[in-house]
């Protein structure tokens, strides 16, 4: 079963807002000077922001805000966010990998930005529907 792809726009304003909400003020997420100084192409999104977007997709697919009982990702590539009105986009898709004996569903997730995979080994376990 394939879950429909969902695309999320990511702008610098989103990163500033996420920095404040999460408490992660690492300047590579808001300062081009610092980001390029450590060898990055420019300001990048927090890995945890991308992880949050992929979880959003899972929650939107299931319709249950507390559906996820296990979730892991590997950060494969940074999401570079240019200082433009449009920023960039992250697209999340998913496929049902298996169903456990308890009825939990294991989803393999794919997140891409500008055609590159930004997460790898991204997997969410979603609990069986509550009766």
């Amino acid at each position: 079963m394939q879950l429909p792809a969902r695309t999320y726009r990511v702008t610098r304003a989103d990163l500033v807002r996420y920095a404040g909400a999460s408490g992660d003020f690492n300047p590579i997420h808001w300062s081009d000077r610092v980001a390029t100084g450590v060898g990055l192409p420019g300001v990048i999104a927090h890995g945890m922001y991308t992880m949050a977007l992929a979880a959003r997709a899972v929650t939107e697919w299931t319709g249950d805000p507390a559906a996820i009982i296990e979730y892991r990702v590997r950060f494969a590539r940074p999401v570079v966010v240019p200082d433009t009105d449009d920023g960039t986009e992250v697209t999340v898709s998913g496929v049902l990998r298996s169903t456990t004996d308890e009825g939990h569903r294991i989803l393999d997730l794919t997140a891409t930005c500008q055609g590159d995979k930004v997460l790898s080994q991204a997997r969410a376990t979603v609990r069986a529907a509550q009766t």
């Binding site: 404040g20 977007l53 959003r56 805000p65 996820i68 979730y71 590997r74 509550q130």
Partner: protein, 147 residues
């Protein structure tokens, strides 16, 4: 300077308890664009069987900050945060975090390895509520680039 591998198994003292506020959950949900009413509206959350608003799945990362700071501030470990890249992250949920939870986090270094001048540090943070019951366990793997 490489990380000290003898830190594997080291547990830091528990962080001061974190009181999860409804408005903090709202702020976090807005920041990630999550629109589910159960994140912001206690009534909507109660209709789904929760005692109060529900936190989005990655919200518990907010609670790991003191544990991360403890590792940065530990001179023996030798963690240079300016060289750190986030490698991977995993959450296992016993139950969702709710508004009103008083959560205590304890961070343990599980693994310190080195390969070709790059260090890998895996830490686990166990989160329990005021009854001592488990809520969430999360693992972070940090990659520390060499000179």
């Amino acid at each position: 300077m490489p990380l000290d591998p003898s830190y594997a198994g080291h547990t830091y003292p528990p962080a001061p308890p974190y009181l999860v506020g409804r408005e903090k959950i709202r702020e976090f949900a807005l920041a990630i664009g999550a629109a589910d009413p159960a994140y912001v509206d206690p009534e909507a959350a109660r209709k789904l069987g929760h005692p109060d608003v529900v936190a989005p799945p990655t919200f518990p990362i907010v609670l790991t900050a003191p544990g991360t700071q403890a590792m940065i501030d530990d001179p023996g470990l030798g963690l240079d945060f300016s060289r750190v890249v986030h490698g991977d992250q995993r959450f296992v949920y016993t139950r969702p975090v709710h508004g009103g939870d008083l959560i205590t986090c304890t961070t343990t270094i599980e693994q310190v390895t080195s390969r070709a001048g790059t260090d890998f540090l895996t830490s686990r943070t166990d989160m329990v509520d005021e009854t001592g019951g488990p809520v969430v366990t999360t693992w972070s793997m940090l990659v520390v680039r060499g000179d």
